[in-house]
């Protein structure tokens, strides 16, 4: 076996072990080393050179990146998640037909969908969805995300919140928590448009806060333009959009006339 490959495999085992131990610092250093080592393999994306040990290398690399994604979820680092996921993706899309399907594939894809939902990147969510095959859509991990999106779009926020109880995979919990916040933001946005003001009680209920302190903390942090006055939350209406611009009729008339005059002069 290629010494480099064996080195990578060893490190990979160490990395996985550290991950299981939740030793995140160790993980990060190992992962960084692994990634650098991986760049030396020419069989990996984007080159995909057909070396004899290509399949093995690809499998190992995929494994590393899958664990990197899981690590990022555990460390609750969304940027790292995105980074690692994109690096992992070619192994699914482009090398998928040469490798045995990974156990982790659907959970990770589902996680990514969930992430997009959390970040309210609906367009990208749908793009990702389009790339999946029909059979993949029936996988519970994917299906979960799809249903969530539907509820979210319908405005059935309670269904979204209750979905936390029936996650298909333990890693999903982190995103489900985040999703609650996204839902709250949505509600806040809608109320702002729908009402001039709300009583603090109603507002608290609607935004699913258990106490007024939480509510005022949220307002201070996210919507400083709101006001709390006389037991009411006053939504500062978004500034009246500027009145429709007037058509500069006089200017247009003179312009047209001068064009006509020029035309007259040319011929």
């Amino acid at each position: 076996m290629d010494p480099k490959l064996s080195e990578v495999s060893q490190l990979c085992e160490l990395f996985k072990a550290a991950l299981v131990r939740n030793d995140f610092d160790k993980c990060a250093t190992l992962l960084s080393q692994l990634k650098v080592l991986l760049t030396a393999f020419r069989s990996l994306p984007p080159l995909f050179e057909a070396t004899p040990s290509a399949i093995h290398e690809l499998t190992v690399a995929r494994d590393i990146y899958e664990h990197a994604v899981i690590l990022s979820v555990k460390t609750e680092d969304q940027d790292a998640f995105e980074r690692d996921f994109f690096q992992l993706k070619p192994y699914y899309t482009d090398a998928g037909d040469r490798l045995p399907q990974s156990q982790q594939e659907f959970p990770i894809l589902g996680l990514n969908l969930l992430r997009l939902l959390v970040q309210n990147r609906i367009a990208e969510f749908h793009t990702e969805l389009e790339l999946l095959s029909a059979s993949a859509l029936e996988n519970p991990c994917i299906n979960h995300a799809v249903e969530l999106e539907q509820s979210f779009m319908e405005g059935a926020y309670n269904r979204v919140l209750t979905a936390r109880q029936k996650v298909p995979h333990e890693t999903y919990v982190y995103f489900m928590d985040l999703l609650a916040k996204t839902v709250r933001d949505e509600i806040a946005g809608c109320s702002e448009k729908a009402y001039d003001s709300l009583s603090i009680n109603d507002a608290r209920q609607m935004l699913m806060f258990s106490s007024d302190q939480e509510l005022s903390g949220y307002i201070n942090e996210e919507h400083p333009e709101w006001e709390i006055k006389n037991g009411h939350v006053i939504f500062q209406k978004a500034k009246e959009s500027a009145p429709c611009k007037e058509i500069p009729s006089l200017q247009l008339i003179t312009q047209t006339l001068s064009y006509a005059r020029e035309l007259e002069r040319i011929v």
Binding site: K35, V36, T39, P45, F85, K89
Partner: protein, 1001 residues
């Protein structure tokens, strides 16, 4: 199956990694895949840019290259270029990809525009050294790869004369490269100063060569206006032992002559050193002759001496030098010849002989015109006289006038002026006899008997005869000018003086004319204004301001107009140098000055096809309030564009459909001027509808323009020529046609058959330099709108379509060459027959013409033999000459044969005999026979070509020995009328000048 990635997302994500190795890995791979994934990468450009800006990152250049490529794909070439510069050595100039090609083009453009801007504002160029490095890398690469033309083009464009020189000297065929380069610099270098720099460099390179191409050097030097250099080269050549070098010197002189730059040529001539023992014979026999000849008789005797032309001169030289060193003697002899050529005398004389001997003008056309024109209509009457003059320009054949003295006498006043001046056109170039020919009409000192109109006309005629070669006549014209107070005579004298001293910038003459101007007489002042311009052509002197000041002062519109044109003439060819003056003129309140401004634009940028000038002219053509200015602005386009005639029809096509008849008229003439003599199909198509315009003067302009375009185009090459001839005839015969268009038709028939059907209108010489005289001639000609006598200026633009081969003696030896085209394609138009009369009359006419010809030939032969007999006693080459006269008959038989033997299939080639008519379109078919005795010094298909004699021991047969003005032969039917004089002419070799005819009015 090879796998590929479907997205660059993974690599882009990797860019965000912290580890630099990962970033580098991502960058390298992205760079490899950018061609496919640039849309994805483009969203991440900011990240990559930040990598480039990160001073810590050691692969900044790679990042820059990647960004540059992405910007290239996005079409943001400016950004792309600036990042490519940042990529430094990673940007590979030799890579063969669209990206590299596009960016290189962009880089060179950018660099060139920066350099040009810097050069124009006279500031040191503030140029990114990286950009410069790229361009230099590119230039070096071109030179290394042997793509010299590319390198030259780029070097010129980028104003890198050092690289230009390198490219030229390193090329494998330096001569070809040099000629390519000089061509390019004329065609594409728009700024005059810079062109001069390039040419200066070329001359330097030329001189360094082991075997310099003197022909090209001298052309360049002429452009640079360095007479000293040219004189040096010429002198070196004629001092050489070898005869070939002398031939080359003569050829150079002829080539220089063709550009008609009088002042320059005079300068060159004066700088040639005199031989140590100056022969007694003065070097310029003509000038002394004219000066000394005070009365007509004396002149005649002198003329007889002069008849032998150069022969007399060249014979005279050896006669007086037996005592001197033989080397000096040869030098002296060659110098005399060279000076003869440089002064234009040799070429003018040969041209004159050619035009005279090959004259094929059709008197019947004139006769038809004469008959159909109403007696009382003086406009058409004068137009006929103009047409006659133009038709016979330079041929010295004035048969038509002689036959119709009665009819001619109807010309009165100014018509008489132009009738007399017409003689000058007919005798154009008759330098030796010009003065005596015109003597009867010239103002006589003492007896104030003659009509001032004919006297003025005669002075004008003298100017036309001596146009641009007026050394000899200048003095006389000055005297005439100062000794008269009659404004008509002053008018003629001013025009004559202007023509004779064209472009010499002679201060004394200028002052004389200025005095006339300050008399503030409308008629004389107009001519004075034009004349001042002619005198100062292209000098851009301070005088223009003076003239402009007077134009503001005077009340006479005629004077203002004359001055305006004069000012325009002074800035001829100055390009940007004239901008201040043009600006001043075009912003003037007075429409006439603005009108002059249009001409100034036309002449300053003549033949440059300068975009700025065209834009300005088009602007005035549509926006000025005065019709005159608009008309002139359109017309001026013709001058700016004559070097690229293909463009003109396209540019003016819209204007030719303008509602304003003046603009249409201008469009017609613009096409006529720029496409003159080309027979270009688009031009004809554009003019055709205008010839039947609703407005009479537009028809006039279109007819004249059409004639200018079609001059010397045979019906066989464009059938519309025949249709046009018939149209002209119809208009002339039509009783109800407007006078204006009738006049146009008459003039058009004249122009169409100009110079005995042996000349064309050419504004560019063979080396593609502009011919000053021709351009100036046409510019003044276009003034005929206001003043008909100026029509004669068109004769300045005529250049003979001939190939004249010369031997070392500057004689025309008989030799044959090939025209590899059907003879009918370039033949003369058939002589017209009397169409209106019955066919019974037709037949005899046809017979008559041949018989008369035969008769004429017989009598000429007789005369020839007589003259030979006389000569034989004097010279020893009797046998040769006798044979030559026999040859001549064969010659004329050959000329006739294609017409006579119609039934035979037309041959695909034609043997021509030196000197021969070679129309411009025919030039590419001309081939010199391989086993010929003579080979040309340079391969040219028209003009004067010096021939190297490979068998000098054999006797030479000369053609063109018959000097002009034995009027008998061509006149056909007139032969009998002139019997007496013809007989006497035949006796002594050179005839007396034709008798004067008097007006009987």
């Amino acid at each position: 199956m090879a796998m590929t990635v479907s997205s660059a997302g993974g690599l882009l994500a990797m860019l965000n990694e912290n580890h630099p190795t990962l970033k580098l890995h991502a960058l390298t791979n992205l760079n490899a895949f950018v061609d496919y994934f640039w849309p994805e990468i483009s969203t991440s450009v900011p990240i990559i840019e930040s990598l480039y800006e990160d001073e810590e990152f050691d692969q900044r250049q790679l990042a820059a290259l990647l960004v540059s490529k992405v910007f290239y794909y996005l079409g943001e070439l400016n950004d792309s270029l600036s990042y490519a510069l940042g990529a430094g050595p990673l940007f590979d100039v030799s890579e063969d990809s669209d990206y590299v090609h596009t960016l290189l083009a962009k880089a060179i453009d950018e660099y060139a525009s920066l350099k040009t801007k810097a050069a124009e504002s006279n500031k040191a160029a503030d140029i990114d050294p990286r950009l410069e490095a790229i361009v230099e890398r590119m230039l070096d690469k071109c030179i290394l790869d042997g793509r010299y033309q590319q390198a030259i083009g780029m070097a010129i464009e980028c104003r890198r004369l050092d690289k230009l020189e390198e490219a030229i000297t390193k090329s494998d065929n330096v001569h070809a490269t040099l000629s390519y380069c000089s061509n390019v610099s004329h065609l594409f270098v728009n700024r005059r100063e810079y062109r001069h720099e390039v040419l200066g460099l070329l001359v330097d390179v030329f001189k360094k060569l082991p075997s310099p191409d003197y022909l090209s050097i001298c052309q360049c030097l002429m452009f640079l206006d360095e007479p000293v250099g040219v004189a040096g080269i010429l002198e070196k050549l004629i001092r050489s032992e070898k005869e070939d070098d002398a031939l080359l010197a003569f050829q150079i002189a002829f080539d220089l002559i063709e550009n008609e730059h009088q002042a320059f040529l005079l300068n060159v001539r004066d700088r040639l050193t005199q031989p140590k023992y100056l022969p007694a014979e003065p070097v310029q026999p003509v000038s002394t002759e004219t000066e000394s000849a005070q009365d007509a008789n004396a002149a005649t005797t002198e003329d007889v001496q002069m008849a032998d032309g150069t022969q007399a001169v060249s014979e005279a030289v050896p006669a007086s030098v037996p005592v001197v060193d033989p080397k000096e003697a040869t030098y002296a002899e060659r110098l005399t010849k060279l000076k003869g050529i440089l002064s234009g005398e040799t070429s003018i004389q040969l041209t004159l002989q050619f035009l005279y001997s090959h004259n094929k003008s059709d008197l019947l056309i004139l006769k038809t015109i004469k008959q159909s024109v109403e007696m009382r209509n003086s406009v058409c009457h004068s137009a006929t006289i103009y047409a006659n003059a133009i038709m016979h320009a330079g041929t010295t054949v004035d048969t038509f006038l002689r036959e119709n003295l009665d009819w001619l006498s109807r010309a009165t006043n100014w018509a008489k002026f132009s009738a007399t001046a017409g003689l000058g056109v007919i005798h154009r170039g008759h330098l030796q006899q010009g003065r005596s020919l015109m003597a009867p009409y010239l103002p006589q000192s003492g007896s104030g008997g003659g009509s001032p109109y004919s006297e003025g006309g005669a002075l004008y005629a003298l100017g036309l005869i001596h146009a641009n070669h007026g050394e000899g006549i200048k003095q006389f014209l000055r005297q005439s000018l100062s000794s008269t107070n009659v404004e008509v005579i002053q008018h003629g004298a001013c025009l004559g003086l202007g023509l004779a001293a064209l472009g010499t910038a002679d201060e004394d003459v200028f002052d004389d004319i200025k005095n006339v101007l300050y008399t503030d007489s409308a008629v004389a002042g107009e001519a004075a204004g034009i004349s001042m311009g002619l005198l100062m052509v292209g000098t851009a002197s301070e005088k223009a301001t003076e003239m402009l000041a007077y134009a503001h002062e005077t009340q006479h519109e005629k004077i203002i107009r004359g001055l305006a044109l004069g000012i325009a003439l002074t800035v001829y060819g100055r390009e940007e140098g004239a901008d201040t003056l043009i600006e001043q003129m075009t912003r003037d309140q007075d429409p006439i000055i603005r009108y002059g401004g249009m001409y100034a634009l036309a002449l300053a940028y003549s033949g440059t096809a300068n975009n700025k000038a065209i834009r300005q002219l088009l602007h005035f053509a549509v926006s000025d309030v005065s019709d005159d200015v608009r008309r002139t602005a359109v017309l001026a386009l013709g001058f700016v564009l004559y070097s690229e005639p293909e463009q003109t029809p396209r540019i003016v096509s819209l204007l030719s459909e303008s509602y304003n008849p003046h603009v249409r008229y201008g469009a017609a003439l613009a096409v006529g001027i720029s496409c003159a003599g080309t027979g270009m199909s688009e031009a004809i198509s554009l003019l055709e509808p205008l010839t039947s315009d609703v407005v009479d003067f537009v028809r006039q302009g279109a007819l004249i323009a059409m004639a200018m375009v079609m001059v010397q185009i045979s019906e066989a090459s464009d059938s519309r020529v025949g249709a046009f001839r018939r149209q002209l005839e119809k208009i002339i015969l039509d009783k109800h046609e407007d006078t204006m268009s009738k006049m146009g038709a008459i003039l058009a028939s004249g122009i169409l058959d100009a110079g005995g059907r042996n000349v064309t209108i050419k504004l560019l010489s063979k080396t593609r330099h502009d011919k000053i005289t021709a351009v100036v001639g046409l510019a003044v000609f276009s003034q005929f709108w206001y003043w008909y006598p100026l029509i004669y200026f068109i004769s300045l633009a005529f250049s003979p379509t001939a190939l004249i081969g010369l031997n070392y003696e500057l004689k025309v030896p008989r030799f044959e060459f090939l025209s590899q085209a059907k003879p009918s394609l370039f033949e003369y138009p058939r002589p017209t027959t009397v169409a209106t009369t019955t066919s019974a009359v037709k037949l005899p006419t046809a017979v008559l013409s041949t018989s008369v010809k035969a008769k004429a030939r017989a009598s000429k032969k007789e005369a020839d033999q007589k003259e030979k007999a006389e000569k034989s006693s004097a010279t020893e080459s009797t046998s040769g000459k006798g044979k030559s006269s026999g040859d001549k008959d064969e010659d004329s038989m050959q000329v006739d044969s294609p017409v006579e033997k119609k039934a035979e299939p037309e041959p695909s080639f034609e043997i021509l005999i030196n000197p021969a008519r070679v129309v411009p379109a025919q030039e590419k078919f001309i081939k010199f026979l391989e086993d010929s005795r003579y080979i040309p010094v340079k391969s040219a298909a028209s003009g004067f070509v010096l021939l190297k004699d490979l068998r000098p021991s054999e006797p030479e047969f000369l053609s063109l020995i018959d000097a002009p003005s034995s009027t008998a032969s061509t006149g056909g039917a007139s032969a009998t009328a002139q019997q007496g004089s013809a007989a006497s002419m035949a006796v002594d070799e050179e005839p007396q000048p034709p008798q004067a005819f008097e007006y009987t009015s």
